[in-house]
């Protein structure tokens, strides 16, 4: 018989702190040095998410086509140059932010950052490339929208915030037809400026790479932090959409809440983790392990710049749809009526600590955490305070926040399939 090893204390995870620098024009650069692996990552972050756009798809098309052509090079030449040195280029967008990331071997940092400078500062959005990009994306979106999970995501977003709400709106594929070089240039000029940008450099970089990134930031034009209006959400309580031939139902249940800056956010994150943030969570145990209705279920608190929401999600066997919804609301009820056991709360805490530690494994994880903290107007000590708050939370406090926000009539339910 093999004895179980004793559980050793691990203490608080060490949170890497960045050095805050700024380019000559005041644009911030956060530096996280880690010399182990001979790789460097640079991310440029812009206040240019989709909620800022007036023309549908303009924000995503701008960030996705920055590399499609510049004043000096064609899109093909840029792709060639990056591929030749094996550097990764990645453009990402959400409702609030766009992020452009370059990952490179240190020995190819100079070549990669030369390209980065062009892509960030001198994109030309060539007409032919833009037309080709839009045709391709239109077709890809059409393909995506035949998949239940995509439909479910979009329907849930609209139901949660409202059809026209900047955090919920979706647009028809045909809107790509209205995208022109002019539209893109206008969005780029008003959003990619020194006042709405920051950058993060991480990995095995030296002074030279750091200076090079500062020079790129100094090339950004002066501008203003762009304006936008985020109205209150106007939720639709129930949407049920049939799909012909579907074998499963995609269920999403949630409610609009608040951003990470709200005093109850961390407590609600604990609630979400307990509901569906790890394998032993209540929804997983109920829907998958006890009932076999689904391959997986999850719950999460989603943070947006000016809002946030709680969501639970599962793709379940079509003929168990009703039972699954009943079970989910049963778990909601249990969370609001019974205080969590000390053992369960301890597991939830450990899950959260483990998740934080896993993010920091490898030279680039700290960059992701830094980006998120800066976006929320915090420093990396936020992560320490967050862990401190999680460590101090009581079962009564968990029940109290669940009880405050989980009112059945406030929930939005969408079922696709």
């Amino acid at each position: 018989m093999i004895q179980r090893p004793e559980i050793k204390p691990i203490g608080m995870p060490r949170i890497p702190h960045y050095t805050a620098l700024s380019a000559a024009n005041g644009t911030p650069l956060y530096a996280l040095h880690n010399s182990s692996q001979g790789v460097v990552r640079v991310s440029f972050v812009f206040r240019a998410g989709t909620s800022y756009q007036r023309v549908p798809f303009s924000a995503s098309t701008v960030v996705n086509t920055l590399s499609e052509g510049t004043a000096n090079h064609s899109g093909k030449e840029i792709a060639e140059a990056l591929d030749y040195v094996g550097s990764y280029y990645d453009a990402n967008i959400d409702r609030d932010w766009s992020v452009v990331t370059f990952c490179m071997l240190k020995k190819f940092a100079a070549a990669t950052l030369d390209i980065a400078e062009e892509v960030i500062l001198r994109p030309s959005f060539p007409e032919e490339e833009i037309a080709s990009y839009c045709a391709k994306r239109k077709e890809q979106l059409h393909v995506q929208r035949s998949k239940p999970e995509q439909i479910s995501r979009e329907v849930f977003g609209r139901a949660l915030f409202g059809e026209e709400h900047p955090y919920g709106v979706t647009s028809s594929e045909e809107c790509y037809d209205a995208i022109t070089t002019e539209v893109l240039r206008e969005f780029y000029l008003s959003h990619y400026n020194a006042q709405s940008t920051f950058a993060v450099i991480s990995g095995d970089f030296g002074d030279e790479e750091q200076q090079r990134v500062c020079r790129i930031l100094e090339g950004l034009p002066e501008g203003e932090v762009p304006e936008r209006t985020i109205p209150e959400p106007s939720p639709t309580p129930q949407v049920r959409q049939k799909m012909e031939g579907a074998m499963q139902s995609c269920i999403k249940i949630g409610l609009p809440l608040f951003a990470r800056t709200h005093p109850d956010f961390v407590a609600m994150q604990v609630v979400a983790t307990a509901m569906g943030g790890y394998f032993g969570s209540r929804l997983m145990q109920n829907l998958r392990e006890r009932n076999g209705y689904t391959y997986g279920a999850y719950a999460a608190m989603i943070n947006l710049d000016r809002s946030g929401y709680f969501v639970m999600s599962a793709d379940v066997a079509g003929d168990h749809t009703e039972e699954a919804v009943v079970e989910i609301f049963g778990e909601v009820e249990r969370m609001t009526s019974e205080p969590m056991s000390a053992e369960e709360l301890e597991l939830v805490r450990k899950t959260i600590v483990g998740d934080v530690m896993r993010v920091f494994d490898g030279p680039f994880g700290a960059a992701d955490v830094t980006i998120e903290n800066i976006q929320n107007g915090e420093k990396n000590d936020y992560t320490e305070r967050f862990l401190g708050e999680v460590a101090a939370i009581t079962p009564e406090r968990v029940r109290e926040v669940a009880n405050r926000y989980f009112q059945k009539k406030r929930f939005v339910v969408t079922i696709i399939g």
């Binding site: 179980r4 790789v39 060639e80 094996g86 059409h142 929208r145 009932n291 399939g417």
Partner: protein, 413 residues
């Protein structure tokens, strides 16, 4: 570059250790050399169902996940055609909990009829979610059936049909466990800021009580006969766009042809600047998305060319365009610059793929299974040695319509 030390227990368990000074985490990876290729043809999907059952508890540890969660750990597993891989990450202070759990479930499971029943439903829902309830979902079933006539790679890991999973019995579970889940058939690797000696000593403590039982009975090697005339299947279906997928049978892992095919598909589709993307997606706008890759099995895998067609393009045009790209590599062998580009990319990809403890531990087990540890850090050199002439020669002798299997999805209008 991954450094490692190796140790073998008397019962046959192989243990590998990598020292990572930067990480606060330990990754514990346990690979069993059994996959869907080892299944009976009437019991496909079983290796994967079995992987799920490994999380259903033992007499001594009724809930597998709980002790992992108690040490801030995370665990998961996957099944491939060739092997089944289990992994746990924990803060390094508690890596022994992972060893204990793995040793425990190597000692015996506790599967009741009820547990088997629930797990079958979960796996059937996985089948539905990933393969049936989505457009093109059954494409791998169709393609494998066309390419493989004898080899067990004919069946995808999930299984040929949900019925095979429904029919699995407790006796099947017991026999499979007896045959494959034993120390001689397992490779344990740990990557952490821990000395190798400490890892080996702990492995001895937790695993040496397991008895070794000598050789493992395996099926004989199956050689899939070459494809000698075009195979073709057209599916009329409610898909959003037409799609073409061309598959060729290719060499085993470790052969020169394997690396050549991998490099060749990177010339075609490895990155934005690659040929298929530049020529067929951007310039000629034949496809809205296209790709070329190898499926990467240990025995004879597949080289795949695939694309989703833009609305006005015909299947014939798309097919000719893909073969046109192969033909061009024969007519004008690829230049030094382009070849160096994809070779550089392999080097970078390998570096980026070794940045955390999990990937390192997984790679250690996998390369040990392949049997040639010089490949762990040596594949870049093989990629760098491949020439344009070899690629042209390979295409002209292997990648033609007569040796292809082509699956077409035609959108119902």
């Amino acid at each position: 570059m991954i450094d490692y030390k190796e140790h073998k227990l008397v019962n046959g368990l192989t243990v590998l250790a990598n020292y990572d000074e930067c990480s606060a985490m330990a990754a514990v990876n346990l690979l069993y050399e059994v996959g869907s290729r080892d299944e009976e043809p009437s019991r496909t999907g079983f290796a994967h169902l079995f992987e799920h059952l490994m999380f259903r508890g033992t007499k001594r540890v009724p809930d597998f996940d709980l002790p992992v969660e108690e040490v801030c750990g995370e665990n998961n597993a996957f099944t491939s055609a060739d092997y089944t891989n289990y992994y746990i990450t924990t803060p390094k202070e508690n890596f022994e909990t992972a060893l204990w759990l793995e040793a425990d479930r190597m000692m015996g499971l506790d599967i009741t009829p009820e547990k088997l029943q629930v797990e079958k439903s979960v796996v059937i829902e996985e089948f539905n979610q990933r393969f049936l309830n989505r457009p093109y979902g059954e494409q791998w079933h169709c393609l494998r059936e066309m390419v493989y006539t004898l080899h067990p790679y004919r069946s995808p890991v999930i299984g040929l049909t949900p019925d095979h999973i429904r029919n699995a019995t407790l006796e099947d579970v017991r026999a499979f466990y007896e045959r494959y889940y034993r120390p001689e058939n397992a490779i344990l690797s740990v990557s952490a800021a821990l000395p190798a000696e400490q890892i080996f000593e702990a492995a001895e403590r937790y695993f040496s009580v397991l008895p070794g039982r000598g050789t493992i009975e395996r099926r004989g090697k199956v050689v899939e006969p070459a494809i000698t005339s075009p195979r073709r299947k057209v599916i009329e279906s409610n898909v959003p766009a037409d799609q073409i997928t061309i598959a060729f049978l290719m060499g085993e892992r470790g052969t020169r042809d394997y690396y050549l095919c991998d490099l060749l598909t990177d010339l075609l589709a490895g990155g934005e600047s690659a040929r298929i993307y530049q020529h067929l997606v951007r310039q000629r706008q034949i496809f809205s998305a296209a790709n070329a890759y190898i499926t990467g099995e240990r025995e004879q895998g597949m080289l795949i060319l695939t694309g989703q067609l833009n609305p006005s393009v015909t299947i014939q045009e798309a097919e000719d365009a893909l073969y046109g790209e192969l033909e061009r590599l024969v007519q004008e062998p690829v230049g030094d610059y382009e070849l160096r580009k994809v070779q550089n990319k392999f080097e970078a990809n390998i570096t980026f793929g070794e940045l955390n403890v999990m990937n390192k531990a997984m790679n250690l087990s996998y390369y040990r299974m392949l049997g040639d540890m010089s490949l762990l850090n040596g594949e870049v050199d093989i990629y760098r040695s491949i020439t344009a002439e070899e690629i042209a020669e390979y295409i002209s002798t292997h990648l033609n319509r007569n040796q292809s299997a082509t699956l077409i999805y035609h959108r119902k209008r």
